[in-house]
């Protein structure tokens, strides 16, 4: 059975950029222009989960991204690694949404796509870290969801999912269609091949506006929010690390032991 898959990928500021480059300016996070955005880490894992199913079972992968001002070569990475289609919900009106407005718009787009067996999301976006949108989509579409998945297989028209729990894992069987919320541990996203990159360069993403998914601008983005952001701030931290030195690293290690004893920590 070829499986129809949708992977929800968000474009985010690079979460691995040094913490010092993240600056809040009038309640917004800003980064220097030379820090290029990326596809969120858990969405990369979600893409890899879908690609593994495509490898073994066969199927079609549609990448779906909501935002504004997508950097084309960043967001097209989903195509370059092996997705078949890229749909962008791209409009100013989609700016500054919350979990509610984002999940509602993604669910509306998924309904329009129509055919889906598995919808993959990351466990949390690499900017706001909310961890809600995948489950929100499942609730809106009225389909089951399994979270914290680190392995997914399709057998007999059902998905078998390894779900991480605090002291191990569970193997869960779920009926299709289903939302799978992916965590880490299934392996990094594969590299794009040269062929993949060239094919992606030629392919144009489909762009949908709010009206294309049957929503008013007032229902999406900032206008469709349900939680109000009162304030965004950066707690000040005073670095006060005492560096323990020595002639050699070995000596420094021994000096650290002496210091910890003196400070009565151990």
């Amino acid at each position: 059975m070829p499986v129809n898959m949708i992977v929800c990928c968000k474009q985010v500021p690079d979460p691995e950029a040094p913490p010092a480059v993240f600056k809040v300016v009038s309640n917004k996070m800003t980064l220097p222009p030379d820090v290029k955005p990326v596809i969120g880490q858990y969405e990369e894992f979600a893409l890899e989960a879908a690609l593994k199913i495509k490898d073994t079972t066969g199927g079609k992968i549609t990448a779906l991204s909501l935002g504004n001002n997508f950097v084309r070569d960043v967001i097209k990475k989903s195509l370059a690694v092996g997705s078949d289609e890229l749909i962008l919900l791209e409009d100013e009106a989609f700016d500054d949404g919350d979990s509610w407005s984002i999940a509602s718009a993604l669910a509306a787009a998924i309904k329009k796509i129509g055919e889906y067996d598995l919808i993959f999301c990351g466990r949390q976006s690499s900017d706001w870290d909310a961890g809600q949108v995948g489950l929100g989509i499942a609730e809106i579409l009225g389909i089951p969801a399994v979270t914290l998945a680190r392995k997914v297989e399709i057998t007999d028209g059902k998905a078998k999912v390894e779900r991480v729990i605090p002291d191990g894992y569970q193997v869960i069987e779920v009926t299709l269609p289903a939302v799978i919320v992916v965590t880490s541990g299934l392996g990094a996203l594969r590299y794009a091949t040269l062929k993949g990159i060239m094919a992606a360069a030629k392919k144009q993403p489909v762009v949908w506006k709010p009206a294309d998914i049957g929503l008013e601008p007032a229902q999406v983005g900032a206008a469709g929010r349900r939680v109000k952001l009162e304030k965004l701030f950066q707690p000040v931290k005073e670095g006060k690390c005492e560096m323990i030195e020595g002639e050699t690293p070995v000596e420094a290690g021994a000096n650290l032991a002496v210091k910890l004893r003196e400070a009565k920590l151990l």
């Binding site: 979460p15 691995e16 913490p19 993240f22 996070m29 509610w100 466990r123 690499s126 900017d127 706001w128 870290d129 909310a130 961890g131 809600q132 489950l135 929100g136 089951p144 969801a145 399994v146 914290l148 078998k160 991480v164 729990i165 605090p166 002291d167 191990g168 894992y169 569970q170 193997v171 869960i172 069987e173 779920v174 880490s184 541990g185 990094a188 349900r226 939680v227 109000k228 952001l229 009162e230 965004l232 950066q234 707690p235 931290k237 670095g239 690390c241 560096m243 323990i244 050699t248 690293p249 070995v250 290690g253 021994a254 650290l256 032991a257 210091k259 910890l260 004893r261 920590l265 151990l266």
Partner: protein, 333 residues
């Protein structure tokens, strides 16, 4: 529609007792409820809740709703949802508190969307705004490089709280409260998942969450071996546990259960020794509650030195054995 009032904690059990996160939620919920002059309730779900309802009262609840059913033995979203949705609708609280735990992460967003309300996950601080009476919900964002304060005007509204962020009240068994059994039918046809197998992967030795000392290794260790030798030797000497940043867990060098950080375990030991960990904000999110952080890294610019109290710049292969040997000597003296 009736006015939504009071705070409802959705509790969790661990080994037949109230989980520590639930005592933390009751501590925080009690304060909020007192400020609002409203009730604090607690919902406990399971096949048999036993003495935990009494515990919930001793830790601050005015009312404990007990939803017991054979089908609620193991957590499964589709069955637990039925119990939680019913009780929230019956009780109409103003705010529902859950832990940012395995269960909270899985259940709270579903409930919020099902009920058409808002959820703020992973909160570190909750307070009542004196002017608006709204609940201000503060949570880290951007991996912990910033914090955001949210409010919502919708009730009931939901919040999940990070483990170890709130303090429980002193247990007081003389506290009075009411236990209310909830009659609940679980519609099995609505349960679309099936647990085929549960596999424990816990490492042997002291549990990470309980260890007074944690020696945490990062990607800079290069493979599984140093976790079992260099780090373990130091941890054993200090009666502590070995932990890891995410890459070692992702690479299978250590079990996932040792992964510390925003998406792993949140720990707060007396002493946290970070070895070859760069100190990404998503990692330090899981250990900033430690009393003393010590960092060993070959890169003097590594961010972990901004979080640490003591640091050594050098290769772990040289620094850590020297530290262990000298400590052995000093501790024996």
């Amino acid at each position: 529609m009736a006015e939504n009032k009071g705070i409802l904690v959705i509790g969790e059990l661990a080994g037949g007792k109230l989980a520590s996160i639930t005592t933390e939620l009751l501590g925080c919920g009690r304060k909020l409820a007192d400020e609002l002059k409203e009730d604090l309730s607690c919902l406990l779900i399971g096949d048999s809740v036993g003495e935990a309802s009494k515990e919930a009262i001793a830790f601050g609840a005015d009312k404990v709703y007990v939803a017991e059913h054979a089908a609620l033995k193991d957590y499964q979203a589709d069955s637990y949802m039925q119990a939680a949705e019913k009780v929230i609708n019956d009780v109409s609280p103003r705010t529902v508190l859950m832990g940012q735990t395995s269960m909270g992460r899985d259940l709270a967003p579903r409930l919020a969307f099902r009920l058409g309300t808002t959820l703020t996950t992973d909160c570190l601080d909750l307070a009542i705004d004196p002017q608006t009476k709204l609940l201000t919900q503060t949570r880290p964002v951007y991996g912990g490089t910033a914090q955001a304060v949210f409010t919502s005007e919708i009730t009931p509204q939901m919040v999940t709280v990070r483990t170890k962020a709130m303090s429980p009240l002193e247990r007081d068994d003389s506290r009075k409260g009411e236990t209310i059994p909830v009659k609940i039918d679980i519609d099995a046809s609505k349960v679309r998942t099936k647990i085929l197998e549960t596999v424990k992967e816990e490492a042997v030795g002291i549990k990470l969450e309980d260890a007074p000392v944690i020696v945490c290794g990062g990607r800079g260790l290069g493979g599984p071996e140093p976790f079992q030798t260099t780090l373990k030797e130091l941890a054993d000497l200090l009666h502590g546990a070995v932990g890891a940043s995410r890459p070692p867990a992702d690479n299978g060098w250590v079990p996932e259960a040792l992964h510390i950080g925003l998406t792993g375990k949140i720990v707060a030991p007396d002493i946290y020794i970070a070895v070859a960990v760069s100190g990404a904000s998503q990692h330090t999110a899981g250990c900033t509650g430690s009393k003393h952080i010590i960092a060993i890294n070959k890169d003097p610019e590594a961010n972990i030195f901004r979080e640490a109290e003591f640091g050594v710049v050098g290769k772990y292969e040289e620094v850590v054995p020297a530290l262990t040997n000298k400590l052995k000597e000093l501790l024996a003296a």
